[in-house]
Amino acid sequence: MSKAMISTKELSKTYGRSGKVIALDKLNLEVYEGETFGLLGPNGAGKTTTVRLLNCIIKPTGGSATVGGHDLIKGSLEIKSMTGLLAESPGLYEKLSAHEFLQFMGALYDVPDDVLDTRTDKLIRLFGLHSRRNHLLEGYSRGMKQKVLIAAALIHDPPLLFFDEPTSTLDPNAALMVKDLMKDLAENAGKTIVVCSHILPIIEELCDRIGIINRGKLVAVGTIDELLARTGKNTLEKAYIDITGGVQKKELLSWRELRGAKA
């Protein structure tokens, strides 16, 4: 078995004075080198908190973790250098062009100038942004911004990549391209990838293993087959709903059961 790229022990994050708001509750998880790992969970379950913790953007309030063999607290510099992150709600310098923004991100990660120029150009072409490379990002559509942000996560060619909802704002062609890119990065470039997404077909196709977080707790982890076997369901969607608890069908139109409601 490959060695663990990410290893967490009772990793926790709470907010509030007495830790009343539990964002992540004693997470024990291992993600192996070269693996594509899917992190699923309802909105507000703790996926983004997990990603932020593993990228050393926020500090844990309990437990410990290593990323690439480096301790989350002591080795934060090394971890930041070896990870690439596409955040769920990322910041962007809107007054920079795509080219300038990628140059800026490359500089933040100390990519050598000659490598940076070529890589910036190639990534811009890969994402079909070449004709608008000198336009300011403020004029880009949401999908185009997402492409720039994915390129920014790749600019320093890190061995470990985190993609939080990578395809949610992309058109089908671009989504397919990003999906193929992630597949290629995992299979042919040996990257370890952690994907958070609600688009289950992508997770099904890309991920070797899946973890499901609900209310800050990791409630299930395993391959798709393992999860299906555990829940006795025949699709990932049904298994996911079984594990996290879905909305009962009879409740769906209950809001219309009011006097005077029209068809």
Binding site: Y93, L96, Q103, A107, L108, Y109, N134, L136, E138, G139
Partner: protein
Amino acid sequence: MPRRKWLVLARNSYMLRTSGFGRFRYIVPLLIGVPIVGAIFAFVPWITNFFLDEVEVFFVSTAAIALIQIVLFTTFILFLFFPISFSLNSGQEEYYEILLSAPLRPKDVILGKFLGDMPFYSVGVIAVASVFVALMLPLGLGVIQGTLITLIFMLTFFSALWIGVVIAAMIRSKIGSSTRGKDIGKALSMAVALPMVGLMYALMSGTVYTALLDVESSGPLPFVLDLLPSSWGANVVVDFAVSPGDASGISLENTLRVGAMAIFFVGVLWAGTKFADRAYNLESQSLSSNLARQEGVFYRAIRAISGGGAFGTLVVSVFKDYGRRLENVSKIVYVIGLVALVTFFFGDAEDAEGGIIMMFFLLPFLAGFIVGEVTIRGKENLFIYRKAPKGELRLVRARLVQSMLVMVPLTVVATAIPLLMMSGASTAAAYMMVPYMIALSAALVVFSLGLFLMWPVFSEKPADMMANVMILTFFMMGCFFVTLFLGLFGEVNGWLFILTLTSIAGAIALMLGVRNLRALE
């Protein structure tokens, strides 16, 4: 029956403003207004009683109408420009996207916002009116007269406010359809304040007041002021003061004046809603986008000054993001314009030192406006740096270099203005102040950066930045008074004392700021 949409929007606007007050939200204007008005009615008549004779003499003089005309005119202009400035600066695209998808007419939006804000503006207007009413109470002012004065103030200022709201909406719909236009709007939001400040300074320096007193030789100014609705009420207020009591003073002429004001208000309200439906466009998005120009000599120089390499790229990137926002240029123009206006209206040609002292209180504004940019794009933007190795330190270093590169040349310009405008500054000693001011502005940049990292401002509204800017200003005032107290004012030791104190405070603030930046979640 369909609901009146402007009423729904007015309620929403009110709810937004009072969201922090919980179950007291419906009485917020009363909670704010009653103590203010109560205090005014408690203290002003008490103070007036001490100067009753002088107040009586004042109200029968020609100076009374001039002064009240000035007060009403200034407030009229303030209420006119405030919504323009505020609206141009706010970029609530999502808010407008919601409105765009709802079955609304433009007039519903404008009228709703205006009415929603009205309770809060009423507090301000009634407070201003109360000062005048309370001032005249010891003269024997009647209840009806007092009510009419309050009504005059309300009609005057709400007319101004509504005109301002309609103009602001139209400017927004004209220029808000492109990203460049939005930039221009934000830049204008500061720029429109400069003529206002110029007017205020002209009033404060007595130029306008003198002109109004000397009608014969003051040209068309009194005539122009008389035409404005803000002046119509001034005569009524003075007539009431001269003839206090319920029945007296309420002449046909005064009744007509108040009636004209009411008609004017209803007229602008009606015209505004009609005009808004035609000229105001809710659609604010367009597909236009701006091109980034090729890096020229300027940015190559910035890159070289910053040492080139990765750090040079960081500084240039931060500089580009700063410089391409017209509102930043506008803020700088505003402060430099302020220096010129203060020097022009209040400067003493023989007193160069006075001009330099004035700079002490304007440099914090300049530093605050330049450095305040560091956090206003939100936490997500800071997380870009947080994610990068040693990102926080890179951010601080890049911002320091960028801010210094903006601040130092501006300090030279801002210091040179009073020096060049005052003949008394032709001594070498006065010009030696330029390098001193550069050193002081550098210390203020460090201090300001520390403050904005300690207490980050995650909003683009200039008003939100003011807390940190005021800390800087009060610090400088403190330093100034300490040197005065120690008898070091004007001495080399005094100047060095201020510089040292600012540098130490700046270093401590920056250290604490970086610590806070690292802990920010």
